[in-house]
């Protein structure tokens, strides 16, 4: 896996390079827009980490030229500006993700992993959460290798929760995912499915937390 870092601040560039090298990526570093443009035209990468505020031609321009060459390489944009317009412009130009400086290194590493994975497979059909594995294509779930006995609707609830693991999923989102358009369902039914899921998952230490007034959340694996 080859990553290009385009960042003109030497301290930050050095930190990023070393962190990613530790994670066994091959890392190249470029400190100006023109240099990055040349390198990107000549070499192929699995991911580009691109700073927007660059001397010479800025990150937007590098991104524009990259996409004009019809390159599909995932691009993670770093910026010191957080203005909404910049963010929208970056995403419009074909950035895949966006992080505002200063960022948390573990979060950057997680996003790098996700972007590279997405670039590789184009979306995984298997979701994993600790010992819990859900095959979205085969509609099957296993816990520590043992098949879980789940109804189709329980499976649907679990799928949404796993896709947004660590984030809040509200009842409307669950209902929308589960029932299509013709069937009307109340929030009470959702509570019932979540309750049943909890009973089946809790023995394995997977817990679905209720967030007051907001929805449910599949808690992150604590044993990392």
């Amino acid at each position: 896996m080859r990553i290009l870092i385009v960042e003109d601040d030497p301290v930050l560039a050095d930190g990023l390079t070393r962190s990613l090298k530790h994670a066994d990526y091959a890392v190249d570093c470029s400190t100006s827009g023109i240099d990055a443009d040349h390198v990107l035209a000549a070499q192929s990468y699995d991911l580009v980490i691109l700073d927007l505020g660059l001397p010479g031609i800025d990150g937007f321009e590098v991104l524009r030229r990259l996409r004009r060459r019809a390159s599909a390489v995932p691009v993670l944009v770093l910026t010191a500006r957080d203005a909404l317009i910049d963010r929208v412009k970056g995403l419009d130009l074909g950035a895949d993700d966006y992080m505002i400086k200063p960022f948390d290194l573990p979060e950057l590493e997680a996003r790098v992993r996700a972007l590279i994975r997405r670039g590789q497979s184009g979306g995984a059909s298997v979701l994993t959460h600790g010992s819990l594995v859900l095959d979205t294509a085969g509609r099957r779930a296993t816990l520590s290798g043992e098949p879980l006995d789940l109804s189709a609707r329980e499976l649907g609830v679990l799928e949404v929760l796993m896709m947004r693991s660590g984030r809040v999923v509200n009842k409307e989102q669950l209902a929308e995912q589960l029932y299509g358009w013709d069937e009307e369902v109340g929030p009470n039914a959702i509570e019932v499915y979540v309750h049943r899921l909890r009973r089946k998952l809790e023995p394995a230490g997977v817990s679905i937390r209720t967030i007051r007034g907001l929805g449910y959340l599949l808690e992150k694996e604590t044993h990392v």
Binding site: D51, K101, F103, L105
Partner: protein, 484 residues
């Protein structure tokens, strides 16, 4: 020393344009009127005297014609009816006295005052008192028909001045009172004209008075009198310079904060790497401190930017739109759940209204809620509870963030809204800008911020109470179509 006196209210010296104009108009007019009244009185008197004197002389001549000499004795042959006519005239009774050539009494009132000086003219008028009343007297000398020279008869006729005085006063009143009325009318007209003329200034005053400190837009110059336009233009230029200076200051803060972000990102990344390579020991502890200092710096820089954005002329115009407070607050609260879980806090959302319409800038509103949540989560101990509530206070939309943390002492409640003010002894790493940002944004929305303590007596609840959303008639009509 003159400073102090200029600040003191000097009510009596307060000069309004109206008072000044009235003063300039009124006193000269009044003086002119007084002078003209004196002249008018003089003229009136003169003509009245002339007319009345002529009548008086006629009476004297009438009497004089009846003076006869019989055997060297002078006598007056006045018929009784003539005497009655003299004594019962409309304009007041006449008194007369006829004196012979040797100064002997002939007829009439013997005690009529004599003429002041010996005189030689045939006719002489003078004023005197008779029975305590001012009288006008005419003295007429008539040669006797005896043919002797120096034998003259003197006829005196006196008349009360009251009648002629009254007549003169009447004439004067008819001349002077309309003038006075004219002056008063002019004053009233001026009073109203000044009021009408100054109405645009009054509108301007209200406009300036009702402005918030954030509004530095130009004052309206249309419909103001030509004379005050230079003043408004000068004020507008000042406002423009002020807003440019403010914008420059905001830009500087924003630029500085942005510039700081890249080096801090480098610092953070390097610290994180160093921590991973240093498993334990003193160096590890030092690096952990370094990491927490970096976190704090990051927070401060973000808050500075947030404040710069929240302030007027902070780089972008406020975009007010009709939005649902419920949806926005729920979405913003959801974003904070991971952070709350990290800090082992129970973060929740509560409402009793499905839709709460307010007019607000969604970005700024989110910024405000983020700061409220950041504060609540930062200062509440693990195991605590934070709840975001939306609802109504009367008819006004209300957003509250409630925590059961250490709370803010009563004495510090006003100070926490100051920039960089932090409550001592909380042990949390805040920068003291959160509530300043909240207040700034609340002010820009015309909202009120209140701090209270929860019923259980611990923790802090911050309420933001918004003005009621303005009625949108077309929206109401769309929602409740008229029954067909």
């Amino acid at each position: 020393m003159s400073e102090g006196s200029s600040n003191a209210p000097v009510r009596s010296n307060q000069k309004t344009l109206r008072k000044q104009l009235l003063g300039w108009l009124f006193w000269p007019l009044l003086t002119l009127w007084s002078v003209s009244s004196v002249i008018d009185y003089d003229i009136a008197n003169r003509f009245v005297n002339l007319a009345y004197d002529r009548l008086l002389l006629e009476s004297a001549l009438d009497i004089g014609r009846q003076v006869k000499v019989l055997q060297d004795r002078v006598y007056v042959d006045l018929p009784e009816i003539a005497v009655q006519m003299l004594q019962s005239r409309e304009s007041g009774r006449l008194y007369y006295l006829v004196t012979g050539p040797r100064n002997e009494y002939v007829t009439g009132e013997p005690d009529l005052p004599p003429p002041p000086d010996p005189f030689s003219e045939r006719v002489n008028y003078y004023d005197d008192n008779y029975h305590g009343r001012p009288v006008r007297i005419v003295t007429l000398r008539l040669p006797l028909e005896t043919g002797k020279t120096e034998s003259m008869v003197m006829v005196q006729v006196a008349e009360n001045r009251a009648a002629r005085n009254e007549f003169a006063t009447q004439i004067l009143a008819r001349m002077v009172l309309p003038q006075l009325l004219l002056i008063v009318l002019a004053g009233l007209m001026l009073w109203f004209a000044v009021g009408r003329g100054l109405a645009p200034l009054e509108t301007l005053r209200r406009e300036v008075e009702s402005r918030s400190h954030r509004d530095l837009s130009a004052l309206p110059i249309e419909e103001t009198p030509q004379e005050v336009r230079p003043l408004i233009r000068a004020m507008n230029e000042l406002l423009e310079r002020l807003s440019l200076a403010l914008a420059a200051q905001q830009r500087f803060i924003a630029d500085a904060a942005h510039q700081l972000r890249t080096p801090i990102a480098g610092l953070k990344t390097q610290t994180e790497l160093a921590l991973r390579q240093t498993p334990s020991g003193d160096a590890h502890a030092t690096l952990k401190q370094l990491r927490s200092a970096t976190e704090q710096t990051t927070h401060l820089v973000n808050q500075l930017l947030s404040l710069a954005r929240a302030e007027p002329s902070g780089g972008r115009a406020q975009v007010t739109q009709r939005l649902d407070l419920h949806t926005l607050a729920r979405s913003a609260t959801t974003d904070w759940v991971p952070r709350a879980l990290e800090r082992k806090l129970d973060l929740g959302f509560d409402t009793d209204s499905e839709r709460i319409e307010i007019d607000a800038d969604p970005l700024l509103l989110r910024e405000m809620l983020n700061n409220l949540l950041d504060n609540a989560i930062r200062y509440t101990q693990p195991g605590g509870q934070v709840t975001v509530r939306v609802g109504y206070e009367g008819s006004r939309p209300r957003l509250s963030v409630e925590d059961n943390g250490p709370g803010i002492p009563e004495t510090e409640r006003n100070r926490v809204f100051e920039r960089f003010y932090r409550v001592l002894g909380t042990g949390a790493e805040g920068c003291g800008l959160g509530l300043a940002i909240v207040r700034e944004i609340a002010q820009s929305h015309g909202a009120e911020v209140k701090l209270t303590t929860a019923l259980e007596g611990t923790g802090t609840t911050v309420h933001v109470i918004f003005p009621q959303a303005e009625e949108a008639p077309e929206r109401v009509r769309a929602a409740h179509p008229a029954p067909a």
